[in-house]
């Protein structure tokens, strides 16, 4: 049977492609933000802040196109579920960009402070894990692969653990107030990266909804990034 809503479906595909581009950009921003914070490079921090402006613009553009499609096309079934996913992912990516901006601002706020190697390594590891999650999320969406989406919560576990344990690393820092100030800011960076991990898991949930019509909750409520009492 011939396709009879080509223009509408092309617009849907185009919106999805745009959002995948934003996800790609978000991954690069995570990389830059982590590098900026762990090396103290303010130029990279500035690049992250500038890049976020374009994410914010795309967010508004996608939202407008989404409203127009809803008003004019009244999508149904898998089209409707895709619309739902696009709206959700659009918001999620915008917030992801905001988290990288938080890290960039923390880089500025810690300019000149002495860094702690053990914590730098942890932040770098978290950054690598989160970026791998973003790439997996993008792949899962492109391939329409629910199984790949279901890998995301497991990938998010070490991110959560590293964030939870960051507190212990800060305790080890000792009494140097300048190092302590950097280390407490590093805890906030870890928290931002942990949030990005959760946001990617969220995209995975959206994909499963698109593919199956089933609502799934990958993240266990109340756990995740919250510090746990030993």
């Amino acid at each position: 049977m011939p396709e009879i809503r080509t223009a509408f479906h092309q617009e849907l595909e185009d919106m999805e492609r745009t959002l995948l581009g934003v996800a790609d950009q978000a991954e690069q921003m995570v990389q830059k933000a982590v590098e900026a914070f762990t090396t103290g490079r303010l130029d990279l921090a500035d690049e992250v802040i500038v890049a976020d402006e374009s994410i914010d613009e795309t967010y508004i553009e996608i939202h407008n196109r989404w409203m127009q499609l809803m008003a004019r096309q009244q999508p149904l079934a898998s089209d409707l579920r895709l619309m739902s996913m696009l709206l959700h992912v659009n918001t999620t990516l915008e917030r992801m960009g905001d988290q990288t901006v938080n890290i960039a601002k923390l880089t500025r706020a810690t300019d000149g402070l002495p860094r702690v190697d053990a914590i730098v390594e942890r932040i770098q590891e978290m950054g690598d894990l989160v970026r791998a999650m973003i790439r997996t999320g993008i792949e899962a969406v492109v391939r329409r692969d629910a199984d790949e989406a279901r890998l995301l919560p497991a990938m998010d576990e070490p991110v959560d653990r590293l964030n939870r344990d960051m507190y212990q690393e800060v305790v080890k820092v000792g009494n140097d107030p300048r190092q302590l100030e950097w280390a407490t800011k590093a805890m906030m960076v870890a928290r931002a990266l942990e949030r990005v991990g959760d946001q990617v898991v969220d995209i995975g949930e959206q994909l499963v909804f698109l593919l199956t019509g089933e609502r799934v909750e990958f993240n266990e409520v109340g756990l995740g990034g919250l510090p746990q009492r030993e």
């Binding site: 396709e3 009879i4 809503r5 509408f8 009244q74 149904l76 079934a77 579920r81």
Partner: protein, 295 residues
């Protein structure tokens, strides 16, 4: 169209709903199983001569709900609708096999009076078709044709009640004796709904009731349907999926099979809550149709 002979008492009694059914009706159904069916189609095939127009339909209709029948042209949805009050009897060569239960009585049993069926299961058509009579007479006819022999005052009350239910009273109360044709298209259609309600049916069949109306008149009809479902069961055929989405509780999607000789036969593909069918249909054929991936 309809034989004015007063109906047989037996038919009327056996088609009455039972109290137990009414009592077990669930306020919020939890799955697509219809708990309290007012009508039920079983193993229905409809032929026009040798031509099999619709096959193998099994479909329940829940009391006090709106059920939409949707699908492409030629899928048999209007044919199925007409089976529900034996309107197909009036089409030469039409033959119905299978059963159509109305309150547990098969309306195709030989001793059932089709006129009584049509009193209990009213119908509204695509194009407003008022009679060339006054607004009052259009509605009163609906009652008289079914043996209403009340006094003048009683008839006045009945006409007013039907016009109020059809959300037309305020617009016509000062010109009840003007011609039905003096009304706008949307008003004429509501007049036809009032006429269908006058005999106090249990079920109202609507065949594309708004397709000849402008968008505002269409929305009025839809609002009217929603207000009527507390007292009636409504079954609507519509080409407009958004309309099905706006008004119906459940939707039946029909499609067409084409055999090797090119003969097209309608069939029921999927029946579910409208929410479910329009967001996550279980059949690919439904998905393809409602997302426009089907020509």
């Amino acid at each position: 169209m309809v034989n004015p002979t007063p109906s047989g008492q037996t038919t009327s009694e056996t088609m009455d709903r039972t109290h137990t059914e009414a009592a077990t009706r669930s306020a919020a159904p939890v799955d697509a199983t219809v708990v309290d069916t007012v009508m039920r189609i079983e193993d229905l095939d409809v032929y026009y001569g040798d031509f099999l127009a619709v096959k193998d339909v099994d479909l329940p209709f829940a009391r006090h709900e709106i059920t939409a029948l949707i699908g492409p042209s030629g899928c048999g949805k209007s044919t199925v609708l007409r089976c529900l009050n034996r309107m197909n009897d009036l089409i030469p060569n039409a033959r119905v096999e299978g059963k159509v239960f109305f309150n547990d009585r098969n309306i195709y049993d030989p001793d059932v009076d089709p006129v009584e069926v049509r009193r209990r299961v009213g119908m509204v058509f695509q194009k407003p078709n008022p009679f060339p009579k006054s607004i009052y007479e259009n509605v009163a006819w609906g009652a008289r044709i079914n043996g209403f022999k009340g006094k003048r005052g009683e008839m006045d009350d009945l006409v007013e009640r039907a016009l109020r239910q059809a959300a037309l009273w305020d617009e016509v109360k000062d010109k009840l004796h003007e011609s039905g044709y003096s009304l706008s298209g949307g008003q004429q259609q509501r007049l036809c709904i009032a006429r269908a309600l006058a005999p106090n049916p249990e079920v109202l069949l609507m065949d594309e009731p708004a397709s000849a109306l402008d968008p505002i008149a269409t929305l009025r009809i839809e609002e009217l349907m929603l207000s009527l479902k507390n007292e009636y069961t409504i079954i609507i055929v519509t080409h407009n999926m958004q309309q099905a989405g706006r008004v119906s509780d459940r939707t039946a999607f029909f499609s067409v099979d084409v055999d090797e000789r090119g003969q097209r036969t309608g069939k029921l593909v999927e029946f579910d809550f409208t929410d479910k069918l329009f967001t996550s249909p279980s059949q690919k054929e439904t998905e393809d149709y409602i997302t426009g991936r089907f020509g």
